[in-house]
Each structure stands twice: as structure tokens, then as C-alpha cells.
């Protein structure tokens, strides 16, 4: 059967669609199979206005903070090594936020912009000591958004 011009055109279009599918499927599968980071897992829940941890003490080494924002307000999470009590961190001059540059405060890392239902993982190598996790948005820390973590 002789192929008309219209049939050839349809055949080309079909071939292109099949090729696009052949490329897209492996890429999607590959993305789903990302390796899970190792370390001691610690689930952290951020909500107005408190920080919830499922562990108060963890072994030294790699710690994997699996953070989940529960809102309703957007939050951030800072991890500092300090000997201060969680509710006694030094404040800035505005009296509303923690002074991260103050002596005795060693900021290790932070995660920000966690909105409702956002999830993020923070992996840190923690030496033995006392750590405080808090949200340093205006009024959040003073509202009670802090938690203590001991590493041994």
C-alpha cells in the first residue's frame, strides 16, 4: 500500500511521541531512587510556637534531623551548640531575637522557610555536647520555639 503524505506525517508524529515517552520514563524512575542519607534520625516538628523532638539524647556522630513544618506560620530552625539553657539564650538589642553571634553560641547550621507540610532533612556531624534547636523569627523564640538536645 502506498503511503500518502498525510500518513507519513502521522507516522512521524507517533514516532516522536514514543521517543519522548522512552526518554521520560527512565528519568522519572531514576529520580525516585535517590539514596537515603545515613545517620541517627531525629524527627523535628515545628509549629506555632514550639519545637518538638522525638529524642532528647542521641549518640555522637552523624545525626539526621528530619524536619517537618506544621505551621500555620512559616518557621526556620537553627542548631547551635551552647551551654546556655534553651530559654536563656542571649538576645539581640531588639529583645525579640537570639543573638547568634554572642559568645557561647556556636551556630552549626540552619534551615529556613519551612511552611505548612514542608519537609526537609538536615544532616550534621555532632560531637558530644549540649545543643539547642530554635526558631529565630521575631517573637517565635520568645513564644517558646526552642528545644534542647544532648549528644553523648
Amino acid at each position: 500500500m502506498a503511503w500518502t503524505r498525510a500518513r507519513r506525517r502521522w507516522a512521524w508524529a507517533l514516532a516522536l511521541v514514543l521517543a519522548a515517552l522512552a526518554l521520560a520514563v527512565p528519568l522519572t524512575v531514576a529520580r525516585r531512587q535517590e539514596p537515603t542519607p545515613r545517620g541517627t534520625p531525629v524527627n523535628v516538628v515545628l509549629e506555632d510556637f514550639k519545637v518538638g523532638l522525638d529524642a532528647a539524647v542521641v549518640p555522637a556522630g552523624t545525626v539526621r534531623f528530619q524536619i517537618r513544618g506544621q505551621g500555620p506560620t512559616r518557621h526556620e530552625l537553627l542548631v547551635v551548640r551552647t551551654d546556655h539553657a534553651p530559654d536563656k539564650l542571649p538576645l539581640q538589642r531588639d529583645g525579640l531575637t537570639v543573638n547568634e553571634d554572642a559568645p557561647g553560641i556556636d551556630l552549626l547550621d540552619e534551615v529556613d522557610g519551612l511552611d505548612i507540610d514542608d519537609r526537609q532533612t538536615l544532616v550534621l556531624r555532632l560531637a558530644p555536647g549540649h545543643y539547642v534547636l530554635y526558631c529565630n523569627l521575631e517573637g517565635h523564640y520568645l513564644g517558646g520555639m526552642h528545644a534542647s538536645l544532648a549528644v553523648r
Binding site: D48, P72, L96, D115, E138, G139, L142
Partner: protein
């Protein structure tokens, strides 16, 4: 008067153009767009237009939605940002009052609560640049935004409670410091929540607008593609239609000719090569009159002039002869449409059909008809002569009466035969060289009618009729009188009278029948004014055709009218050129006194006096259709004319 088959009419000579036909198939589903004109839409084209319309409608709809959303979002952001300022104002008012200065924290507290309520539940807010006008805001729908705003509202309530405690306790309250810190923390938290809500709303607005823009771009691209496809399909459809039209025109056996306003040929279809052996290009710019037979030019010019003066869209039919390149003449019939107001044509469109073969056939039939009629006419004439001899020799009144009846029947047969000769188109009736008294002509016509005793002739002036028209006028009147007697009650009379007019003399034949409808009357008058060629239809309604043809020969006008008392009046206008006479002018001649009964017998047997024809005791039938030129009475002039001429 007549309700005879003769009352039927043929095609009108000038009619309005019929409405354009509809379209079929998918085209019917597509709205008829004025911009497309008469372009027929193919199947594919039929679907492209609705798709394009839907796309354009979607773009317009999305645009409207985007504009509304943008405006609403801007107001929401403004309201959220204003709420933060109100929190700061409330906090400040509380501290000012605690320090002993005047302020109204209650009012600022209410003001602080209002934006959140509006954002959550919907309502009106004052437009930032609206000169005091208020704009409606819809309730927040996104669950994230709603959670944040509800948190905002809880914090405001707590802030107001804390403020109330400060206002109630003052500086002396032991919890003053704690309450003050709590006030500042709550204020900061509210600012944070408000910022968060504003950020969320802004992000969502941006995302929504971005989505809308993407959709609009996609729709725009689709529309452009659809428009491109539509353009291509329209172009193809137009080309196909033009090719189809060209093919139809080129292969048609008919000619399509467009005459410009100046009478020149603006377009000539190529089929003229087949019909007239001429190239279409050679004819463009020439006039149609160059091709028309000289004898037909007046008729063609009259038809075209009449059409040009008619309303746009009117049509007219005419026949003529066109000259072939080899010199022969082709008989054609043309349907002409006035499209002078159509800018695409700007002239008269002639659809010309070659009917040479039909014309030859018609001539052949006419010849056949004429030959047969002539033979019958000869026989009837001989029969009449024989009856005449018998009448002359018969003395028994009863036998004579029977002979008169035979005489009358034979006379009617002869008139029928003469009708056939008239319809055959051949003019071979007897003619007189000299004028004949009009009254004699009328009486002769009445004598040919079977119910002549019901006919009253009165008021005919003393005029003469040109000899060459006498026989035809008598025949014409006989047909009309016959019709009048046939279609009226046997107990009623038919009155024939006459009177002068400015341009001739009018004979009136008036019956007392049931009359005719307006439509029938119009059709009959049209038939009388424009007699058709002989065909089957004509044979069924011979009377009016014969009258029309005879009238046309001599420029006589015949018209039927309603009678005010019922019935129909036939008016026969004899032109002044046919009249002569006893007086110099018809109006000067004394009429026969009204109401005087004039018998047909008088034409043959009675002695005429100068006062008119006298009635006789009995009414024998007259055999001759035309007045006898050699009879006595006041027809001396006719008698002097001698023998009739052919």
C-alpha cells in the same frame, strides 16, 4: 366574463430574484458568518471556525480572570500589610495610655481585627486609591492562607487580652513587666504571621498569574495555529469554489454574459465559442447589439431598458437571434438579471440558451398546424357555400331554420379553424382594401356567437375600421363575446357598446356572470398583453391567446376589468390609426341610441337605414365571420371595395 381555461397565465416576464439557497452537511453547524459571504465551508473548515471561536473566548475569559485576580490580590496584599501597621498602632496606643497619655486602643484594636476578618470571611475594604470607594474581597480559599489568617486572628485576640490587662493594671501591676514583654512578643509574632500571610498570598498570586500567562500563551499559539489553518483552508475553499465555478461556466452549454452599464459586454463565458463560433475575448468590449438580428434589436433594447429601470434583482426573459461567426443565425432565449447594485457584477447578467432546434421544431409544428387548418378551412368554406345555396332555395320556414342552425355551426367551426391558423403564426385572413363600418364589424362578431340573441349592441358610433384589420377585429370580438356568453347565466344579457377616447375608440363587452378573482384577472390580462408561442398550454386556453395575437397584429389593446355589479368587462381599445370615417373624429359621429337591439341577421338580410340597423321578427344565423363587403345598407364603401384581398 371569462372563467375559461384561457384565464390561466404563463410565466411572468419580470420577477424578483429567489432567495439564496442554504448549505448542507457540516456547514449547517457552523454559524453563517457575514464575512464569508457565499463561500461554502468544507468539512474541515467547518470545524476550524468553532475551535477558533472557543480559543478566542478562552483567551478573553482568562484575561478577564487574570485582571480580576491581579486586582484582588493587590488589595489582599495591601490589606494584609495594613493589618501589620494596625498591630503596631494598637501596641503603641496601649503603651501610651499606660504611660498616662490620651489614646484610643479600643478603636485601634477593632481596626486591627477588621482586615483579618475581611480576608478570612470576605467583605468590602476601602480601595487604596479609590477616593473612599470600597472594593469587595472574596474569602480566602487556599487552606494554607486560611490557617495563617486564623492564627493571625487568635494572636490578635490574645494581644487585645494582654493589652486589656496592661490597661487595667497599669504600671503598678506586679505583672506589668511580664505583660509588657508578652505584648511585644505577640506583636512580633503577629507581624511575623502577617508577613507570612502576605508572602503566601503573594506567592500564590504570582503562581496563579504565571499559570494564567502560560495558559494564555498556549491559547494564543493555538489560536494563531487555528487562524493560520483557517486562512489556508479558506484560501483553498475559495480556490476550489472558483475552480468549480470556472469549470461550470466553461463547460456549460449556456452563455453567461455580463453587460456593463454602458451596454458593452464586460464578461463573456468561453462557451460562446461553441454556440456562436466566436472567442470570448473578442466579444468583451463590444455591444450585444452587434450580434442581435436587426429585426430583434428593438425588442431586445426594450427588454433591457425595462430591466435596467426595474428594481435591483429583477429578471426578464426575451428571445432573439444571434449571429454565428459563419453568418447563420441562432435562435436564443435569455434570462436576464439586473445585478447593477452588486459591486462584484455591476451590470446585467444574461443567461443565454441556444433554442435554434426548438425554434425549428416550433416552425415545423406551426406549418403542420397551418396546413391542416387550411385544408379544414377549405372544406368548411365549401360546406358554407352549399348551405348558403340551400338556404336561398328553401321556402319552408322550419327547414330554413334548421339550415340556419347548420349554417351557424359551420361558421363556428370555421372560426375554430381560423384560430388554429392564428396560432400557427400565419396571417392569411381575408382583408379588405377599403374601410368597413365599425358597426358592421361588431355585428359580424356577434353573429358568430351561438347565443347571439343574448347580446345587445348599443352605442356604436358611426365609424369605419381600416379594411386590413376588419377580419381580425371581428374575430377578436367574436372570441370575447363568445367567452362572455359562455361564462354567464343564459338568462342574462351581454352588452356591447362603444365610446371614443383620446387615442382611439373603446369597445366594451360586459357580462353579468360571477366574475373572476383578482389573480385570475391579472393573469388573463398578462396573457392578453403577452401571448405565448403555440404549445400544449395554449391549446387548452386558445381564446385569450388568439385574442392576444390578433390584438398584437394591429396595436389593439385588450383588457379585462371587474364590473361594479358583478361579471367582467372586456375593453378593446382600437387605435386611432385604424379608425376613419363617417366623421372626422370618432367623438363627432352620432352613436346608435342606447338600448336598441341589433340582430346579426341585419348583417346579411336586413336593409339598413341611416339611423342604424333594424331588428327583425326572427333571428336567423349568419354564416360569415367578417362583414360581407358586397351587402347592402350603409356599407357602400365596403361594397365599393370589391373583392377581399389575401
Amino acid at each position: 366574463m371569462p372563467r375559461s381555461p384561457s384565464a390561466e397565465v404563463g410565466a411572468a416576464s419580470a420577477t424578483q430574484r429567489p432567495a439564496a439557497g442554504g448549505r448542507s452537511g457540516v456547514g449547517r453547524l457552523v454559524p453563517r458568518l457575514p464575512i464569508l459571504g457565499d463561500l461554502r465551508l468544507g468539512r474541515r473548515l467547518g470545524w476550524v471556525i468553532p475551535v477558533l471561536i472557543v480559543l478566542v473566548a478562552a483567551i478573553v475569559g482568562y484575561n478577564a480572570r487574570a485582571i480580576a485576580q491581579q486586582r484582588g490580590s493587590a488589595l489582599v496584599v495591601y490589606t494584609a500589610a495594613r493589618q501589620r501597621a494596625l498591630v503596631e498602632r494598637y501596641t503603641k496606643d496601649v503603651l501610651v495610655v499606660v504611660d498616662g497619655f490620651p489614646a484610643d486602643p479600643k478603636e485601634s484594636g477593632e481596626a486591627m481585627r477588621q482586615p483579618v476578618d475581611v480576608l478570612l470571611d470576605g467583605g468590602s475594604v476601602r480601595a487604596p486609591q479609590g477616593g473612599g470607594s470600597r472594593v469587595e474581597i472574596a474569602p480566602a480559599r487556599d487552606w494554607r492562607v486560611r490557617l495563617k489568617l486564623e492564627q493571625d486572628r487568635r494572636l490578635i485576640d490574645e494581644l487585645i487580652r494582654t493589652g486589656d490587662r496592661l490597661l487595667d493594671g497599669g504600671r503598678d501591676d506586679p505583672h506589668y513587666a511580664a505583660n509588657l514583654t508578652r505584648l511585644r512578643v505577640l506583636s512580633a509574632q503577629l507581624s511575623s504571621v502577617s508577613n507570612d500571610a502576605v508572602q503566601e498570598i503573594t506567592q500564590q498570586t504570582e503562581a496563579s498569574l504565571s499559570r494564567l500567562v502560560r495558559i494564555e500563551i498556549a491559547l494564543g499559539l493555538l489560536s494563531a495555529l487555528a487562524a493560520l489553518g483557517l486562512g489556508l483552508l479558506l484560501r483553498r475553499a475559495g480556490a476550489e469554489q472558483a475552480a468549480q465555478f470556472r469549470s461550470l461556466v466553461n463547460n456549460s452549454s449556456d452563455l453567461i454574459t455580463v453587460l456593463a452599464r454602458d451596454g458593452t459586454i464586460a464578461y463573456q463565458s468561453p462557451s460562446v465559442q461553441r454556440m456562436l463560433g466566436r472567442r470570448a475575448a473578442d466579444l468583451v468590449g463590444t455591444t450585444l447589439g452587434d450580434l442581435v438580428h436587426p429585426d430583434d434589436q428593438d425588442d431586445v433594447n426594450a427588454s433591457l431598458t425595462k430591466l435596467v429601470e426595474a428594481a435591483p434583482g429583477a429578471t426578464a426573459n426575451f428571445g432573439c437571434r444571434l449571429q454565428h461567426k459563419d453568418g447563420s443565425w441562432r435562435h436564443v432565449e435569455s434570462i436576464c438579471t439586473n445585478l447593477a447594485d452588486d459591486p462584484r457584477v455591476n451590470g446585467l447578467v444574461l443567461n443565454i440558451r441556444d433554442v435554434t432546434e426548438q425554434a425549428a421544431l416550433r416552425t415545423s409544428i406551426s406549418d403542420l398546424l397551418h396546413n391542416l387548418a387550411r385544408r379544414s378551412q377549405g372544406l368548411v368554406d365549401r360546406q358554407l357555400e352549399l348551405i348558403d345555396e340551400l338556404e336561398r332555395n328553401e321556402v319552408d320556414p322550419e327547414r330554413l331554420d334548421e339550415l340556419f342552425r347548420m349554417d351557424h355551426l359551420a361558421t363556428r367551426m370555421r372560426r375554430n379553424v381560423e384560430n388554429l391558423i392564428v396560432l400557427s403564426g400565419v396571417d392569411q385572413r381575408r382583408r379588405w382594401r377599403a374601410s368597413v363600418p365599425l358597426r358592421d364589424v361588431v355585428e359580424a362578431a356577434v353573429a358568430e356567437v351561438e347565443d347571439y340573441s343574448r347580446v345587445q349592441v348599443a352605442g356604436i358610433h358611426d365609424l369605419t375600421l381600416a379594411g386590413q384589420a376588419a377580419s381580425d377585429v371581428a374575430h377578436l370580438l367574436a372570441e370575447l363575446v363568445e367567452n362572455a356568453t359562455s361564462f354567464s347565466s343564459p338568462t342574462t344579457t351581454v352588452e356591447v357598446s362603444g365610446g371614443p377616447t383620446g387615442n382611439g375608440y373603446v369597445l366594451e363587452i360586459e357580462d353579468h356572470g360571477i366574475g373572476m378573482s383578482d389573480i385570475e384577472l391579472d393573469e388573463a390580462n398578462r396573457r392578453l398583453a403577452e401571448p405565448l408561442a403555440a404549445d400544449v398550454a395554449v391549446s387548452r386556453m386558445m381564446g385569450f391567446h388568439v385574442v392576444g395575437r390578433l390584438a398584437a397584429r394591429h396595436g389593439i389593446r385588450v383588457q379585462l376589468r371587474h364590473c361594479w355589479f358583478g361579471g367582467v368587462t372586456a375593453l378593446v381599445l382600437l387605435p386611432a390609426a385604424l379608425l376613419g370615417s363617417a366623421g372626422e373624429h370618432p367623438a363627432m359621429a352620432p352613436p346608435v341610441p342606447a338600448g336598441v337591439m341589433v340582430s346579426p341577421e341585419a348583417l346579411l338580410l336586413a336593409n339598413a337605414t341611416k339611423s342604424g340597423w333594424q331588428p327583425r321578427a326572427h333571428l336567423p344565423l349568419r354564416r360569415h365571420a367578417a362583414p360581407a363587403p358586397n351587402r347592402g345598407g350603409d356599407t357602400d364603401a365596403a361594397a365599393e371595395a370589391g373583392e377581399p384581398v389575401e
